[in-house]
């Protein structure tokens, strides 16, 4: 059972950074960190699929006790081949849900997204790469699902307000 009454997203991010994992925060947490008033229950990250990083990520996920939440009773763990794929690994960690994504939108991977990120300081010794609002919007437009389209107005208005400042 994931821990409550603690900073779950921060705890996951700290663990990933502690293991020197290369990743980019995307999704709802990225939108919120970029200033959009959104709510989300899971942390989404796109990871580098370089072999060394996959090894570091596997170690971090082991530390996070990450298992597939698509198979809740079976405690199935991701392996290197899963993380090397462009697909989405929907995991549950001891701190809560974590989605580890090989690609997002139109097959945008870590390398393609890196130039569209900002580095944000979230705490002492915790700086993370976050996908910028412009690209979050572009990805949502590419995906085009109902859930993504529903979020577009608030993301677009947030971008407008940011640009006015």
């Amino acid at each position: 059972m994931p821990a409550t009454s603690q900073r779950r997203f921060a705890a996951i991010l700290v663990e990933l950074r502690r293991h020197n994992v290369d990743f980019i925060v995307v999704g709802g947490v990225a939108a919120g960190l970029e200033g959009a008033p959104v709510n989300t229950l899971d942390l989404d990250v796109v990871h580098s699929r370089e072999p060394d990083n996959l090894a570091r990520l596997l170690t971090a996920l082991e530390s996070l006790e990450a298992t597939y939440r698509t198979h809740p009773g079976q405690r199935l763990k991701p392996d290197a081949s899963h993380l090397a794929s462009p697909g989405h690994q929907l995991l549950m960690t001891r701190f809560g849900p974590l989605d580890v994504l090989g690609t997002i939108g139109r097959s945008r991977d870590y390398k393609a997204l890196l130039t569209h990120t900002v580095e944000l300081e979230l705490a002492d010794d915790l700086r993370v790469r976050v996908l910028n609002l412009e690209t979050l919007i572009a990805v949502k437009e590419e995906v085009g699902g109902e859930k993504d389209v529903a979020m577009l107005p608030v993301l677009r208005r947030t971008l407008e307000e940011k640009r006015r400042r």
Partner: protein, 67 residues
Amino acid sequence: MVVTATRKEADLDDDDQLRCAEPVYSEDGVDLTLIRWMLSLTPAERLDVLEGFAESMAEIRARNVTA
């Protein structure tokens, strides 16, 4: 004697202040005041807001788990 209730000049100023110079909602219904509030926070403070929601939802769900 007819007493006409008039608003004091100070009240009119208060009412005028309540009317925002900037729009409150966008044309597509987005609450712009929430955006401005989030943008006034540091990234660390924004993470606290997100964490607070997630934590609250987790606690409420845990309280309402049915056997």
